[in-house]
Symmetry: C2
Subunit: 392 residues, 2 copies
């Protein structure tokens, strides 16, 4: 029996990413493939670089998308900046800090962990203490917006502390880029990575990164070769660098880059600050509805990400059954908890193209229905009105 063409259902993606992709981006991805060394393609690469510089709020020359998902972007930062024998302080307040630790150790370096409760911001005081105790640390790594919990840390404060202790910084901005303020140059971030499928609302598979001059110095003056050939920026730069002449390193994912270009043009046209404002407003509407329903947030208001809302699952409610019903009845995807939070929380994303008033109402209405049918003790029939009030 031959396999036939695949026709996906039309979902609304309100999980932790991928977010809904604009039809403009999908259409861009279906444009004719051209060569990765075609002069027109090189022009487009230069535009992507400019658009990413705007999005990251940086003038860093080394700003480009890695040809792989966010975890490849993370690894690109670590394998290029960390050398065997180094000490790296990693602040953990969720799943992705743990992944950073794995990266550090696989580079032959030592990770000093600064542990924070999941769902809370990273405590700057704890970072300071750790750096005082570990004078040999060369790098500090932390997650700006923890996708596993929905908590936001004060990136500027953490970078300042790291710099006072002569450490470079690697910042995970997978979920923050495009959704909440991130100012790479103003905050002095040395290396940052993100993902295409969160607030940029492109399809998954690309990871924008940016490196400042101090990071670049480390990369250019390494004693050990970067352990990954594919991710070695000394080689990748020959392709993504300046000038008309580009050396082949690997074959770029042409059509995925068409999509990223279009997603970044959409963001440029909206304006970064307008996008941040839109994410905030839709979050406030969702929050009004969630709280009116009697549900609670995992993260305290001051550390709450507008684009990723972690909600405590009401007592007695079957996590998987509710998510399945939302998918079946309403073609609506919300996210499960990750790691220690599995089965305890839902993650409702309002990222990028997904973040609009229509989806806020859809999600609240669908939760109201499905939770009621599941026997949850919620205030039925009030969530949508509470959200509408914020939106109007």
């Amino acid at each position: 029996m031959p396999i036939r063409s695949f026709h996906p259902p039309q979902r609304t993606l309100m999980g932790p990413g991928p977010s809904d992709v604009s039809p403009r981006v999908l259409e861009a991805m279906s444009r004719p493939t051209i060569g990765h060394l075609d002069p027109r393609f090189i022009e487009m690469m230069d535009e992507i670089k400019q658009l990413l510089q705007y999005t990251f709020q940086t003038k860093n020359e080394l700003t480009m998308p890695v040809s792989g998902p966010g975890s490849a972007g993370m690894e690109t930062c670590f394998v290029n900046l960390v050398q065997p024998g180094d000490t790296v302080v990693v602040c953990q307040n969720g799943v992705f800090g743990g992944r950073m630790k794995e990266n550090v150790e696989r580079c032959g370096a030592t990770a000093i962990m600064v542990e924070n409760a999941w769902g809370e911001a990273v405590d700057p005081g704890r970072l300071e203490d750790a750096l005082k105790k570990n004078g040999a640390a060369k790098l500090v790594a932390f997650v700006h917006a923890e996708t596993s919990t929905g908590a936001q840390s004060d990136a500027k404060a953490l970078v300042d502390i790291a710099h006072r202790h002569d450490c470079l910084t690697i910042v995970d901005a997978v979920t923050s880029l495009g959704g909440t303020p991130l100012k790479v140059d103003d905050w002095g971030i040395d290396a940052v990575y993100s993902g295409s499928q969160k607030c940029l609302s492109c399809t998954p598979g690309l990871s924008p990164v940016s490196f400042g001059t101090r990071a670049l110095d480390v990369i250019k003056n390494r004693k050990h070769k970067v352990q990954s050939w594919f991710m070695d920026l000394n080689l990748v730069m020959a392709y993504w660098g300046s000038g008309a002449k580009r050396a082949y390193h690997h074959t770029a994912p042409i059509n995925a880059l068409y999509g990223l270009h279009e997603a970044l043009v959409i963001l440029q046209d909206e304006g970064l600050e307008s996008a941040w404002h839109r994410h905030q407003r839709n979050h406030e509407a969702l929050r009004a509805g969630i709280e009116a329903m009697g549900l609670s947030f995992v993260v305290k208001p001051e550390a709450r990400l507008p684009q990723l809302n972690s909600i405590n699952i009401p007592a007695g409610i079957d996590d998987a059954a509710v998510r399945k019903e939302l998918l079946t009845s309403y073609q609506l995807e919300i996210g499960a908890g990750l790691g220690a939070m599995a089965g305890k929380v839902w993650r409702i994303g309002l990222m990028g193209h997904t973040s609009n008033p229509r989806n806020v109402l859809l999600c609240l209405g669908a939760l109201d229905d499905v939770l009621s049918r599941a026997g949850a003790r919620i205030n039925k029939g009030v969530a949508v009105a509470a959200a509408s009030k914020v939106l109007s």
Copy 2:
């Protein structure tokens, strides 16, 4: 001045990849994005696995696309199978054997190089000699179809020699998969990687890989953790493995996988042997035209790949100027030489969707015109007729 949407020109891609992408594949990529853990998406992943098993001619359970380009697939093979201190015999007859050496060394292992002239097949006798001298070798790696030269090696013979010396094998099938016979199980290949943008005619960015049971044993029983977290198959298997339950590792490139699925369905519907036959026939037509024109091939007939035709640039002809003129006048891309062959050869791809009679005639007609105008001493006006004769 804001940046505008990018509209690529419509090229005909007759370089070493990317090849032309079928409109069916482009359309599939523009379908709505769904979640990477969506039950419908998991079904599609299983179908991709089955389709890849067919395409690789293998029953290997661990058969999947790596979420990155061919060089990420290459590195996935090396970092999972090679451990620090290992000795690996690498057969080199072009650029990509050199990239294998880089991979081996970055894994902390020693590469024993078996050098062959560029443009020739790997000599089985030299491999045998190297293995006799290096009893400690654990692995043999070679390129089945050298994209940099257009030469094909006898993969079965090389694998047999490696196995007689108790070595596992890593085979680069980036350019062979789908274009020329490759039989992973019959030939006993232990680990193989390919690319999406060659004879599969999907857009670049994915690397199909397959691992046999002996390779899997090595991966599962490593003493050292795989140095790459992103490429660690012990982790990736939890997502691409069997059963309905899949653990999140990284976010899969959803829409790129829609495209790969469609490209593999097209290949399944045509039939693998028919596709091999088509590549051979169009190559013979191109060859007739090229030789009628008075141009010569780099590779001897017995080692010549039908899907990648390396042609010696006629004396006194400016490589870059001719390629630019082909692109400008005919929207036709052919490939430059790589590495030691830069400026000396052109690489004409007849891969996947590109491999059709129309493109054979277009390429010969365009070369005839542009080379004549450039003052090359060719037999003008005879190439197209010579090719047509083979095709009719």
